[in-house]
Amino acid sequence: MEAIYSLMDALLPFSWSSYTFMKNAFLAILLVTPLFGLLSTMVVSNRMAFFSDSLGHGAFTGIAIGVLLGSVSPLLSLVLFSVAFAVFITYIQNKSTASTDTIIGVFSATAIALGLMIMSHGGGFNKFSSYLIGDILSIVPGDLGALAAIAVLVIFAWAWLFNRLLVMSINPVFARSRGIRTFWVESIFASILAVVVSISIQWVGILIINALLVLPGASARNIANNVKQYTLFSVLIAVISGVTGLILAYYFSLAAGATIVVVSAVIFFITLGLKPYFAR
């Protein structure tokens, strides 16, 4: 860790990067934003914006259960609950004939309500409010190791999943006719989303986490003409917004998660304006 810090001192001779908590935050952003960029492409292409939003809402219950049980860390309980929640929604979607919006709406609302109910027990809701906005400066070196491990796992999973998800985004029946097991692909994708969302909630915040899963892909598709460009632009936009947002947040003392999202939104509107010049 010390070696990385001194390398950063050499490469980034700025006042913001002289603090250790900022170094940690910067490293966390470099590890996590590319994942958001990758996942974002298929969240947008497979019309899962509402689904990924519900993962943030499901976090309420995940955190609440963790606190209720006491013995497990809130993060572990959050990750486990979110994965179960995501796979369960995917399963119900595949089984039921009701529309996707309705099913997600039902589960999302239930998860928020259940979470709030448990959290409000004994009138101690305030101690959870940090999860709503998130705090990027709360990241410690131990978290960075976990983030790095997850980043590697996600990239490997993505290599396996991507082609299948791409074919499924065209037509699921067609995908199955080519031997793709769509339920498994969807479930694994949903689980990965759940893991990445739940580990990021503590620093981005429940309220805006979904923006990071929608904006990079939505911006990239304005200016991309094939899948390689789409992925590249989405990852670049996610990383650039992350780093820019963090530095702006430092100098103007703002909430980092919110600033990152605002920067992504600005990039989205710029790409929207550029669309006529890029789209073939």
Binding site: N163, L166, V173, F174, R221, N226, V227, R280
Partner: protein
Amino acid sequence: MAPRGLFHERKTALLRTFLHHRAASGSDCTKLCCTKIEDFTVRVGRLTIFEHINIHIHCGQLTALIGPNGAGKSTLLKAILGEVPHSGHLHYMDAKHKHTKPVIGYVPQYLRFDVSAPTSVFDLFQACLTQKPVWLFPAKRLRPRVRKNLERVHAADLIDRRLGALSGGELQRVLLALALDPMPDLLLLDEPVSGVDQNGLELFYEIVEDLRAKEDMAIILISHDLNMVARHADQVVLMNKGVICSGSPDEVFHDPKTIRLFGMIPEAVAHHADVSIDASTGAGNVKEGA
């Protein structure tokens, strides 16, 4: 094993006599590969989508499924794909008369993707044909194969276009090209109701006709254009929650049951049916008036 073999022989003998009346080609099932759809029934809850469907298809034959909206045509294709729970069996026998699992190619009717998706035709082929993730690896070596696939459907120049920028007819041809790699034993085509112009439709049927002649495969096509059916199909199956009637285009289009279901069959269709059966030349010159 012996009783089963005996039973099978009797069954094929029966089918042979049966086929002479039903299938337009009248060819012998023991020599060609063939597909039998036996007693297919699909129910959703208490609602019967269709029941007791029996269709026999030879390779090198184009079978057209026609029928009103809600007749269960698309559902039948999905049942053949194993997509919809159904009762009944699909038997496939290859040219050596062995029961095998057929490779099924499928061209869907609707696509769910949104037109702004930055997916090119080549991306889609790469995603379908290889395990290498499209976002990571360039696939220069795949290009000649994709080009060859697209040439088969007269779409080689579309290779780098975005899917969303294709016309309905172009998209249909690209999907057909995809369904042909790997070359299927059974090709299921669900034709879109709209979005394909007349020229696109003509081209599509020409390609299908060409495939039927060159490749040893059975083709089942859901069609909404009776003219095209009359000109190109070997066998027509009229469906409405079950098989209403089937046979050569000529037989089906002159059947009173068809006329009852579709109202009046345009004279040109009936005429086409006659022409394509009696004298296969010149059929393409007759233009419909309906």
